[in-house]
Subunit: 358 residues, 2 copies
């Protein structure tokens, strides 16, 4: 899912999202609640009317953003109080309020209000937090009034398998139509993150979508898919594009460096995005140096298309029963032969899980 | 002509330019010569290959930009020396060098190297300058080697009719395929500018394009068209769009103000641009406040489309023999009843010229 934090995937039009094969767009409850306010979005008939993107949306619960962006935040059993990062106003977000805002925003998938503890955090803190998150899930469930929105629960528990188990036990019984793996990609090493992804994904129902929140880089998508993850979101493709980097099967290309300035080939000969069909690296590198707005726009577009195409290729490989081979070949090239241990491990674990399922 | 100073109409893709009815794009010799250098553009087969805009281009001569952007510039009979605004390097631009660069850039229309004196300037300075500009025109003519580029001459003379007459006499004899009216829109009052436009345009050959350089605002396009001008260029539509202003028949809409934040109508109900077909004013005002890149992109696109549509409507009115009536009606609404004297005068002068031609 491309991320449209404030109701816009930065620099990209809805038509372009459709053209590159975007499906669901993520929008942020925290940001839209503070500005322009959910009522204005509701007055447009919800996010599709407001943003003009006609496809499905997912909204996060606001929980993660409150933790990372709110000032003077205070977490209680009731919810979270904080000062807005925009104007310093005192704001309160509770499970009920999060659902109320998400119903006004009108996404197809809404997320339960949770706490995502930082990394590292005390075991005791994580345990108390995940228990409270489960109680908040119950309140979200009770607060929900719209029948046309799917509420996804979020499994927490940090990198500790027993705490993940506990969170799973408290969460699964709600039987929500989808489950997210939360609390990861917050600074922990990949060697700690992926075993937690593997364990949690393996315990989630096979027939419901599994969503790894806030992930990721190309290698994270492949590792996640290997472990059974179905959905991802990340600002990475657009953010790294704005910073002048282009994603390719050969790794991340630094378009700010001197080499691309004279290269007459596209970013990626295999890519079918507008930028790769029309522009040389030399032109795009010129736009970056000239600080032209078209540069971040085109690199963001390319990076989104790269990730969509990567997932399309993974899907095809899965359908052909050739995912492992395909992923290994992809990784050899992407990592230039130096495939990291955590990635190899993720593929192997995924392979064993897959065999046991089949 | 939308302006693509550095080889990009800021924030807008070539496909969008085609979609909104752009025809010729202006690119700047001064900027492209300094960065990325005309040889890189030539290596792409010229501006269409470099920028991916498949339609016609016009390049300016670099003269105007040298005067306005170059540091420590020194004008001699030979040409102009200056320090680059990018890296302070000493650069020389002469009629021969300007043509050489413009041939490498490969535009369809190239401009003679001229001096555009500032306003106000001494009569004597303007006279010496226009005589030198005529000698530079001769050198441009001699330096030109490509048969597939049309060299346009530029008439100078400030706001003085006798000096315009003199520049016309020195310029017309070259019989170039098009003529530009230069040296205007540099700070002089409209009451001085339009009589100079009227006189110069009336003396230029009817069957060749007349190009009013660096103009303009919607009202300038209508006044210029009334006086027989065929071509315009200006950064105004994209620049004012980046600053949050939208052009409409009711005048310029300040999207930074508070009113649009709750308005659920498009910028302009009569406009068929992507922004007006998809977005409310409230959404666009939100994007501006949120500093989202899509805002300057969409306002620039709308403003370009507004000017293209304005010219399309003027063309239709001319074809129907109804230009005067149409222009008066347009102005009543645009100026909210307070149509300025210079505009009324331009329409009247244009009407008399038109009658004498017919």
């Amino acid at each position: 899912m491309p991320v449209g934090t404030q109701g816009s995937v930065k620099g990209i039009s809805p038509q372009e999202l459709l053209d590159i094969g975007s499906q669901m767009i993520l929008a942020n409850t925290y940001h839209l609640m503070l500005r322009p306010g959910e009522q204005l979005v509701a007055a447009h008939g919800g996010l599709p009317g407001f943003t003009a993107y006609p496809g499905p949306f997912l909204t996060d619960s606001g929980g993660f953003q409150v933790m990372s962006l709110g000032h003077m935040r205070k977490i209680t059993e009731e919810g979270v109080t904080f000062k807005s990062h925009i104007d310093g106003a005192n704001v309160s977000l509770t499970p009920e309020r999060s659902i109320q805002v998400q119903e006004a925003l009108g996404a197809d998938v809404i997320m339960a209000f949770d706490e995502c503890p930082p990394y590292p955090a005390e075991r005791g803190y994580i345990e108390n937090s995940l228990e409270r998150t489960a109680r908040w899930l119950e309140r979200c469930h009770a607060a929900k009034t719209r029948e046309d929105q799917a509420l996804f629960a979020i499994v927490q528990g940090g990198v500790h398998q027993d705490l993940r188990r506990k969170s799973l036990d408290l969460t699964l019984l709600f039987g929500t139509p989808g489950f997210a793996i939360g609390g990861l990609a917050v600074g922990e090493p990949k060697e700690e993150m992926y075993p937690a992804v593997a364990f949690t994904a393996s315990q989630l129902p096979e027939e419901k979508p599994r969503y790894l929140m806030g992930v990721g880089h190309p290698e994270d998508l492949i590792a996640g898919i290997a472990l059974g993850v179905d959905m991802f979101d990340c600002v990475y493709p657009t953010r790294t594009g704005r910073f002048g980097y282009a994603l390719t099967d050969d790794g991340r290309l630094n378009m700010n460096s001197s080499a691309p300035r004279t290269q007459l080939e596209p970013i990626d000969r295999e890519c079918d995005c507008y930028a790769c069909r029309h522009y040389t690296r030399a032109y795009l590198a010129h736009l970056i140096r000239a600080e032209e707005m078209l540069a971040p726009r085109m690199l963001s577009l390319h990076n989104l298309r790269y990730l969509h195409r990567l997932v399309e290729r993974a899907r095809t490989a899965i359908e052909q029963g050739a995912f492992q081979t395909w992923a290994q070949t992809w990784a050899q090239r992407y990592f230039r032969g130096a495939v990291p241990g955590w990635f190899v491990e993720a593929l192997e674990v995924g392979s064993r899980v897959q065999s046991s399922v089949l």
